[in-house]
């Protein structure tokens, strides 16, 4: 198999398989949560569960001031790598072309040098997050193999994308792009089986938290 054939396979059938595993996996995981159900609350409500749930989905994106101060590094690095990851994924011109190919919709891109800079910042933030996880008493204590694996598959697309874009001479441009696409596929495939699922389930968790509190008249 030539390098070009490999790239075609990676961008074709491999991407399809990864997408199917990703979508199916996410749907199954969400379904198995919802299927567990929840008992109706028989206590007389003081406030609205739905309003509380929706409120917390938004409000939990912003930490309270004291928590921000206590966990400043966690909060700042967390914001940077999340926003950076999505900016790179969604606003890099070649990515938008790919989405247009697959989904048929497109949106304006950000200037390439800006996305490039964001990628570097995101990679640095992720490296810092890893060091923090290794050094911070609580995080090191809580961390399992999966936490490091997830870190690796999250940073790989950023690093390989950066190398491919700059055509760094460690391999042919074709090979670089092949590795980049493969790293994305790896991320997609392990996504439903790991804590990466939080990207979807956090909306459910926040909703439930806010609904439980809102029913009692508390803004959580």
């Amino acid at each position: 198999m030539s390098e070009t054939e490999l790239l075609l396979w990676v961008r074709g059938p491999a991407l399809q398989i990864a997408t199917i595993i990703f979508l199916l996996g996410v749907v199954v995981r969400i379904a198995e949560i919802l299927m567990l159900g929840r008992k109706k609350d028989l206590a007389e409500a003081r406030g609205s569960a739905v309003a509380g749930g929706l409120r917390t989905i938004i409000s939990r994106s912003i930490p309270d001031r004291a928590t921000l101060q206590r966990s400043l590094f966690n909060e700042v690095a967390g914001y940077i790598f999340h926003i950076g990851f999505f900016v790179t994924l969604l606003f890099f011109a070649p990515h938008i072309l790919l989405f247009q190919d697959i989904l048929g919709v497109s949106w304006p891109s950000l200037p390439t040098p800006l996305v490039d800079a964001v990628t570097v910042v995101t990679i640095i933030a992720l490296l810092a997050v890893l060091v923090h996880r290794l050094l911070h008493k609580v995080m090191r204590f809580l961390s399992r193999f999966q936490d490091y694996l997830v870190w690796l598959v999250t940073i790989l697309p950023l690093v390989t994308g950066y190398l491919a874009f700059h055509r760094v001479g460690i391999a042919t441009p074709t090979m670089l792009i092949t590795v980049h696409v493969l790293s994305v596929e790896l991320l997609m495939v392990i996504f439903p089986f790991t804590k990466l699922m939080h990207a979807f389930t956090l909306f459910m968790a926040r909703y439930y938290n806010g609904a439980i509190a809102g029913y009692k008249g508390v803004n959580s």
Partner: protein, 421 residues
């Protein structure tokens, strides 16, 4: 597998619902919950990280309710939860968690960790891993009617005392009264002034009320230990008394978890809605204030602060009412840093105060409250939970601080304008 472990794991399985699954699915192990927990901040012990206290429950969820986990279990790839582990976790679940729910306010993915600890205790108790102190309190609650072993004659003595002191008659078993007042054993034994205070306030505000001789105990150790059947039986006693006396509302007294038990968990424990309302004493007092039925003279001039009992404010929703009442009786009301729904727990809620094994720990973590108080140096602390009050007094003594701790209801009663009639 032993029968008790089996019972415990089954209880875990029964407790896991969609919110629990969503919470465990979302945890990224960021550790922010540790910074919200006084047991971690005051000891620096990473094992006190709130989400870690749930690890056995999380594994049961993963092995029983996730696609991948079920296969891993079938192929023997996952580690089953053992009895030894539950023994290790007993102190984490009961001694180092007051169910205060501060972590649930801070978790960035929105996990309600306290909701899960409450559920986990059901499995721990079923597996025979509840602390001695709580088992004793729960047994007394069922057989004697009070976790502290307070019997009717003790209450009757306090009522006679209150009647002599106030010159008012304290209604007992009066059918058709609007309100039925519950009391906590701690109020009856340590703070009987509460009964006089309520009598005086209700006289002025013209509230018809009664105490039931059959169900006067408000506390519910069944929810602290995590045995829903017992918790339900204790709730049923109150429901039966309220229905017998045909009252419109039941008043939950100055006790945090009693309010959680009777107001929020009660109907769910017995499986049906009430035919009466449940109000917290502070809710009722604030309502009376709004209706102009409380006449106050001579505000407190001391620098007063208000300590929110977790189950009344953060977990119960009575947040603004005590502040309205404080403004009514105090000229100089100052808030602690991080107050209201973000207040720090005193360290003794959720059954921790009934668990002698946790005595040293709860005094150690009181240091968090000390720091909060040091920031504003109040002349006195007002609160609305006798369990908080006792622990605040003990903690203040431990740290050599001389700050009196007052009840909000009693403070209001002291400032009532003399009735001219």
């Amino acid at each position: 597998m032993s029968a008790s472990l089996d019972r415990g794991l089954n209880a875990f399985k029964e407790q896991i619902d969609a919110p629990v699954a969503a919470f465990f699915s979302s945890c990224v192990r960021c550790g922010l919950c540790a910074s919200a927990c006084l047991f971690y901040t005051e000891t620096g012990n990473a094992a006190y990280t709130p989400i870690h206290k749930l690890e056995p429950l999380r594994r049961v969820w993963q092995q029983e309710y996730t696609f991948w986990g079920r296969y891993a279990k079938a192929f023997g790839l996952s580690k089953p939860v053992t009895d030894e582990e539950l023994t290790d976790w007993e102190t984490l679940v009961y001694d180092s968690c007051t169910l205060c729910g501060r972590c649930s306010m801070v978790c960035p993915v929105g996990n309600d960790i306290a909701y899960m600890i409450r559920k986990m205790r059901e499995g721990m108790a079923a597996a025979g891993h509840a602390p001695e102190g709580l088992i004793g309190a729960t047994k007394r609650a069922i057989t004697i009617g009070s976790p502290m072993g307070v019997k009717l004659p003790a209450l009757q003595a306090q009522i006679r005392h209150a009647e002599k002191e106030t010159g008012l008659s304290i209604p007992v078993d009066v059918e058709g009264a609007e309100y039925m007042l519950l009391l906590s054993s701690m109020e009856i034994m340590n703070f009987p002034e509460f009964i006089s205070a309520v009598a005086k306030i209700f006289k002025q505000a013209d509230v018809t009320w009664t105490i039931s001789s059959e169900a006067f105990e408000a506390t519910n150790s069944g929810i602290q230990i995590g045995v829903s059947e017992i918790a339900a039986e204790l709730v049923e006693r109150v429901v039966a008394a309220a229905e017998k006396l045909k009252v419109k509302s039941v008043i939950s007294p100055e006790c945090g978890h009693a309010y959680m038990a009777i107001r929020w968990e009660g109907p769910n424990l017995i499986g049906r809605p009430y035919s009466f309302k449940v109000v917290h004493i502070l809710e009722l007092l604030d309502e009376l204030r709004e209706q102009g039925r409380l006449k106050i003279t001579g505000k407190e001039t001391q620098r007063l602060t208000y300590h929110d009992p977790c189950q009344i404010s953060r977990r119960g929703g009575v947040v603004q009412q005590p502040r309205n009442l404080m403004d009514m009786v105090a000229e100089n009301f100052v808030e602690m840093p991080e107050t209201g729904t973000m207040n720090w727990c005193c360290g003794a809620g959720g059954g921790v105060s009934s668990n002698e094994r946790a005595d040293d720990l709860r005094l150690k973590v009181f240091n968090r409250k000390r720091k909060q108080l040091d920031a504003i140096t109040p002349d006195a602390i007002v609160s609305a939970c006798s369990n908080c009050r006792i622990h605040l007094e003990e903690g203040l003594e431990e740290y050599g601080m001389e700050i009196p701790v007052l009840s909000l209801t009693e403070t209001i009663a002291e400032h009532l304008a003399e009735d001219k009639s």
